[in-house]
Symmetry: D3
Subunit: 247 residues, 6 copies
């Protein structure tokens, strides 16, 4: 089984970190193909960054079709471009937020997502409401820039731990979800420290992707994720013209 | 007051139709600047088309800054790229769906949105839930392709009318919202035929844009719509590097 | 265009304050007809005051029909009698709360309404839930009596500012809605102080009324706002007998 | 124990019918004091009628204080003026809709309210959402005018039965709530015919009133139902000036 | 009228306390039959205890049928086994939580349930969401073990009072619901101290049971509470084989 | 990895069918230990059957601890006793409904669960609301008794197919979830026939169990699933006395 893990921002160091986690949790027969988007922002912090990361993400999905993959993972906790990727693709596509909160739901009745910046807090809260976890999960920002997570001297981990402690104390959180792909390497250690499940989206998405592939399930092509209709795409986006449109 | 009306798909005929409506309802001092995206799909039907329309939309928003505008309207009922546009922009940005359902809410307690294809139905239903109208509004698809609305011989209007009649009969709809920018020219006539308010998103958005500008209100830059942070953007997206990042 | 602005309480000083705001934001061709209810409570604080303000409000709506108006505004943030006014009237009727929260929704994803007394807090929260903003807006009381807002020496503005500051800090509010018609004169200054959108219901309602009139839209007469049925009204309410009933 | 049953419309025949039910279900020590409003509409069908019934209702509540009552019931399924009555009163006040749906909730997980006219359907649906039963109850209109229920030849009962049958078949209703005070005499017979619980609001409210009185519970005077504040009431409403205001 | 009050835990002292309350509030013609489960946990704290209390509860319901009862009350605030009891029984069955929150809903728009241990908080919050009060009620734990309520020296009452004070201050609670059957003796005194309605589930359930019986209403046997189907029950549960199955 | 698959009803043929599916989808290193409850109903149809199946389920969980398992699956679509099992257990416990709807959520935005009898429909709908999928999923009953699924001549499959067809046509379902463990063998074939994802709970739960075990995640022991407290258990339930209680 080949899983395509696409980092939709252009920071290769984040891709590498996510790939390490993915490979660590993957089943023995699973190959992780890690890809970094070649076009778009260096990190995804808010709606503008996210929207401009989608073409790069779709390019990777498309170009890697020639070498093949059985499922894809969008390695950003904002689930950037997930709906578009599912519409485009014939294989399952997983997002980190959706995978992580579904996983948390099997372990705890109430949990808290701890993310980076305030600007991402409401965005993730909206995702969680759409995924149906609005009554069970809170979202907290810990005032960390995404790329500070790459820098051990930034103090980011201290801020993250403070916010986890507030979640346990004030929210009655029964589990913690790490709300940024850049936190993926911290899950195990934080789980040991706090004694509650700490869920990382990269790891969760790998297991969900493996599950869907092994069950022979893929995105429904009936209704909202139906394949793109043939039609002209203009200008810089002409590469994305649906293949059936060229026939 | 100058309102920038951007059609995020690349079909100039749809832009023209929307501009006619916009100019017809605009206040005497309002100038409508109609722009057609130069990059992306010819029509927006589903998530894939929508995601690939956003860079073209943001390009128009950015390039037109030199000549200036007081508010912008994204002229697609899917509210394509609306969050990203609000994050980017310092002036108010309005979407058709959000404007239309807010307007309908002043006129009726229960209403139905009639859109084009089934693939757009759930997408719009999700928007309506996010905008808080989920308990008050239903969404129906009438099996019309967006560009069929440009073709009088397509039978599209008959299908639309059948679905409106079902909404009145089966949903107890007190008003109808037209769920596609391409239906903008039909609102007045349908309102006369059916004797209930028929709300068109283009017209609604123009009035909301005028309202915000005249009240001196603009998108909050605190929290989820805070301006993009400075950071590198790579490849085909490098033109979108936030200006403050270059300093 | 003639907009009837009815203050449903009997304090003419509040009417005057609302009329100043209304005229300041009205379009050049809009005439504001300000009316003070002649029967009912001096201010509206809670359900009892509100219910007893409705006949006076409906009287103004009815008596002013002879001179004519194109839309009406109920100038109390509790949206006192709004449903009854819409049922009675053939022209659009706007409430302050509904107009303000719809306007806030175009500017911010999360916002806080700051109102006067605790007894109005849940009442407004119920309105906001009904209008679909329950997941996006919080309501705070600032322990101010409505008529204290007419008295510069009351300390009311200090209390209001403290509560706004708590909303920004504790709620993560991205915008503020002023939850009482008596605060209408403070919006601009507070917006400058806090750097987030501050929305006043009087101003918002004027623009929504102008929008509906210019779009040729009025309250649906199908379903819940259908015109009153002919039937006898007894005693002190006999003046309200629906006109069609007398035929 | 003395229960004041106020019919907020001015049709004495409806009061009499409700009083018969109330006396039939009252406990041995309970006295039912039936009162008909002396001012307002002959029947309550929609928001306009409802709003204009409230002063008459509050007058009865106030004037009957001299002879005393332990709890009051507003005998209209729209729960007309219930919030105002609770704010005014020092004893418990019950509404028919709230009492009936709470009672239904002990008997069935899903149920349907069958009311009279379409114009009341959404009004009741909004009540049910506010009372928290929106996910469990549907509302159906059976195209009956309220006063037709007083007329055996009107065909009203046939229409009501048809709608109950649709509720059982199409909604999977496990119980039926009769959505108009004028249907109170039909509950027992319909329950026998259909073999599911049929709940009448008058009977339900009598038992809830008895329960609260015997438990020594009354409306909270903290927060939203706090007693009216002293202030002037003008014109035709001056009789409603809160007593503490005169001190 | 005979009401069977079953304590689903095996602590007879708690049964006695509940019976005292029940008899104090029962109508003159109501006989309270108090029963203590003979199999299961000594107290119910969390899901495991609750699940293992259900067979004992159903045994009491079944064995007491020979001597007869008109309604049953499950005397635990977790509404332990309530759905199963309603499915089994031909008479009304009431739970403490459901009865108490319905009663609170007639008295206050916002209220707080104060329960014992943190492990019961989310369980009760889930009940309250299912009963439709999620938007109106909060749940607080006061760190008291259930059986500490039997011990005057445990400090339990002090902890309970502290949590009530926090509910009034921080939640804006308009009423308090006592979230454990073991608190039943404290309601009157706490109501006097705090001046807001304090609702006890035992008392509330007795009155609801009396109401349903006197109205001739019982659990719907259509749909989700339909009587058990005949089928074999094995092993230790064979005594529970539905009677119709043996025919 | 050893997964304990417990059929909480006592029909060994159903256990066998579930075990076949489980083994077919399990990863190469996963051993499926299939267990049939030895006490309780032959099938689970409604709340009474479900409650009386829980002690047998917990017995299996407990007795099998000596031989060891890494996660457990409750093989009934009603998620019978799932909360109690999670409270009891130190390893992850999965239910079929929760696993299936989470899986469906990755594949489709709107889907329908097709179950057996009407009496299970609302029960499952309540589960789905609690799991947060209430806005995305409908539940339909197909009038099949659970054990008819064991009998090829019962016509059960025809009824099931009719209901799936109605779901696709009337609900706009994008995927189908099979709402009974006894349908597990039909998923693949139905998926081929209808061309939409068809999700079976047994298969879904196996993959979720594998995922949690391989990620080192288990049920949170903080809050609602905290381990049972030591206390006496009486009578037939004394075997369930928490082990720590005996210390």
């Amino acid at each position: 089984m080949r899983l395509l893990l696409i980092n939709p921002n252009t920071s290769a160091s984040m891709t590498e970190k996510a790939a390490i986690t993915a490979r660590a949790v993957a089943a023995s027969g699973t190959e992780i193909i890690a890809a970094t988007s070649r076009t778009g922002p260096a990190s995804i912090e808010g709606y503008y960054d996210g929207a401009l990361a989608v073409p790069g993400l779709l390019s990777e999905l498309k170009e890697r079709q020639t070498t093949g993959y059985d499922a894809a993972i969008v390695a950003c906790f904002d689930d950037t471009g997930l709906d578009a990727a599912r519409t485009f693709s014939d294989v399952p596509v997983l997002g980190l937020c959706e995978s992580a909160v579904a996983t948390a739901g099997f372990l705890a009745q109430r949990f808290t997502v701890v993310t980076t910046l305030e600007r991402s807090r409401v965005l993730i809260d909206n995702l969680i409401q759409r995924y149906g976890m609005g009554g069970r999960a809170k979202v907290r920002a810990s005032d960390i820039a995404v790329l500070e997570l790459e820098d051990a001297a930034s103090g980011a981990i201290g801020k993250l731990r403070s916010e986890i402690e507030r979640a346990l104390e004030e929210d009655g959180a029964e589990a913690i979800v790490l709300g940024c792909a850049g936190m993926t390497d911290l899950a195990r250690e934080l789980q040991e420290i706090y004694g509650v499940p700490v869920i990382d989206g990269v790891a969760a998405a790998v297991k969900q992707a493996e599950a869907l592939v092994s069950l022979g399930l893929s995105t429904s092509k009936r209704g909202s994720y139906a394949s793109p209709l043939p039609k002209p795409f203009s200008g810089a986006m002409s590469d994305f013209t649906p293949m059936s449109a060229s026939g």
